[in-house]
Amino acid sequence: MMHQFELETARNPEALRRIVIEPVSRVEGHGKVTILLDDDNKVHQVRLHIVEFRGFEKFIEGRPYWEVPVLVQRLCGICPVSHHLAASKAMDMIVGAAQLTPTAEKIRRLMHYGQMLQSHALHFFHLSSPDLLFGFDSDVAQRNIVGVAAANPDVAKKGVLLRKFGQEVIRVTSGKRVHGTGSVPGGVNKPLTPEERDYLLKDADQMVAWSVDAVRIIKQLHRANPGLYDRFGEVESTMMSLVDPSGDLDFYHGALRARDAAGEVMFDQVSYQGYHTLLTEGVKPWSYMKFPYITALGDEKGWYKVGPLARIQNCDRIPTPQAEKERLEFVAHGNGKPMHGSLGFHWARMIEMLCAAETIKTLLLDPDITGADIMTGGPRGYEGIGVIEAPRGTLFHHYRVDDDDLVTYANLIVSTTNNNTAMNVAVRDVARHYLDGRELTEGLLNHIEVAIRCFDPCLSCATHALGKMPLEVELLDAAGILVDRMVKDETGGVRQSLA
């Protein structure tokens, strides 16, 4: 059933005890979890506050349209390629490039699937594998990348090399390791040379093999403990993603499809050009981040989740053989029902990583990839909408451009915003199961963080300058008096102190 969003429904929230977690560790940016307890120390309300920076649009408006695909990479240090390509697709419409040349589209796809590979590799091998390999209550020093490396150097090494390969795909296709300029309105600005193709191709089979290994690891975990892995942080919700005209998984282009929590198709092949009527960006007074929902269903029933778990269960097929085999096993595991447990994101994410690795090899073997026809154009447009499936989910870019070529309007819905309500519900589910009483424990906090991490949220591309306080937890009684406090410092040390 669809969860009612109880954040808004407590009758007397001022009388509830409050636990604050700020910021959420190992998640980019700043997040804060507020848990309100009732007099019986039961969870009554949960809110995930995300300090989303809403200056994206102002940062872009007034700039020449051709600068935008490069400029928007500065929005996010985690997935700059996603913004680069979504903006490029939108600006294709400005230059009248209704259909890119085969070479240009395939080079863009190669770049995008390279990012999917490297992003998913990082998340699984280095951000989430501590949760998965060591358990949620394990030693804090072990629950991170270096802990994984020490305990399991082979896994950590594969993660590093998968990540490096993905970065190399991006470097070759975009021209630089970072701040690349490869994708431009109307196509790409450099072809792929046969030498570059061969350089990437020599490692492609290894990346596929390691991706198969990764799927096997997460699959084993689910089968060994389905009660935990299938149910933890369960969020029964609508799922939305792009699919291609055949209903196949496609990260780069397609139309929107949504299934309800039971897996029934709600709408299909809806052009994303109409996203602004299909979706409404809801607001709530306690959060800077918006809460998008399907307009026709309203804000209580219309929220949805995006990202790997939605994509894998939304599509009819994955167009690469090994990933499709794994998708079928994933679907069979649910015995005819969609999986909504948050840890299912990891399994789905690894299937997507395998799809990305296979697709990279396929693209590199395609003769078009080294073609020379890389730009096209047509009648000048004044409005462009570009949507792609970024690693964390559906990403919308929408621009208007005036006769002076300057951007007059910009609107972005980033993947993490699409998942805002779903993340809140996941945290509430976990808090209800594992948080009870007035005592803060590290294991308890880890459970909440594990649930958030499943979504791989990118919290507004924050700066990362040295010296940030990583994690602080406060417990306040019903009168607002601080009764307990827990702090994780930069080295992972945890101290608990009364105010």
């Binding site: 560790s25 190992r26 998640v27 980019e28 920076f53 200056g55 994206f56 102002k58 940062f59 400029l71 500065r74 929005l75 240090g77 985690i78 700059p80 490297q118 990082l122 280095h126 951000l127 804090v140 020093a141 629950r143 991170n144 990348i145 270096v146 802990g147 490396a149 020490a150 150097p153 950590a156 090494k157 993660g159 590093v160 990540r163 490096k164 970065q167 390791r177 970072v178 701040h179 990118c458 591309c461 700066t463 990362h464 300058a465 040295l466 010296g467 940030k468 990583p470 994690l471 994780k488 930069e490 080295t491 992972g492 040390g493």
Partner: protein
């Protein structure tokens, strides 16, 4: 060809003082042609440090990591030697330089090259803002320190 000396500056050039790391690289790049005595120096940048950057330590004899620092501090910058450390800085999607060194040590089964950290003090990190006046002054001091560090490296 891998240069023996690496300076790795990270940060988002469009987020105010977070640009200090990449800007220091620009300044050093401009100085390199005038200082052949410093030898070959690679300058690398990224938005943040990640696991794959451990591979950038291969073949180096000394490495300088450069970042902006948001820590309240009276000094224009802080600098010092680093040792590999188990990284538990829960900053997600971003490793500390000590963590990068530890990944290297784990992967390669040998100690990483000698590494230093130069943390340049910044104040404002908002998207679209320029480098602050205080940060610009701090950058000058940090460039001088880096030049001295490069000079010392040839001895």
């Amino acid at each position: 060809m891998t240069a023996p000396t690496l300076i790795f500056g990270w940060g988002n050039p469009s987020r105010g003082d977070d640009a200090l790391g990449p800007l220091l690289l620009d300044r050093i790049e401009a100085l390199l042609p005038h200082h052949p005595e410093w030898g070959a120096v690679d300058l690398l940048t990224d938005f943040q440090l990640q696991v794959e950057h451990a591979l950038d330590l291969d073949g180096r004899t000394r490495v300088l990591f450069v970042d902006a620092s948001a820590r309240p501090d009276q000094s224009p910058f802080r600098a010092g030697r680093l040792e590999p450390a188990r990284d538990s800085s829960f900053t997600t999607h971003a490793l500390s330089p000590q963590g990068v060194m530890h990944v290297y040590e784990t992967m390669r089964a040998v100690p990483p090259p000698p590494c230093w950290l130069l943390a340049i003090a910044g104040e404002a990190f908002d998207l679209g803002t320029p480098l602050g006046r205080a940060a610009a002054a701090n950058l000058e001091a940090a460039v001088d320190w880096t030049a001295a560090w490069l000079e010392a490296g040839r001895r």
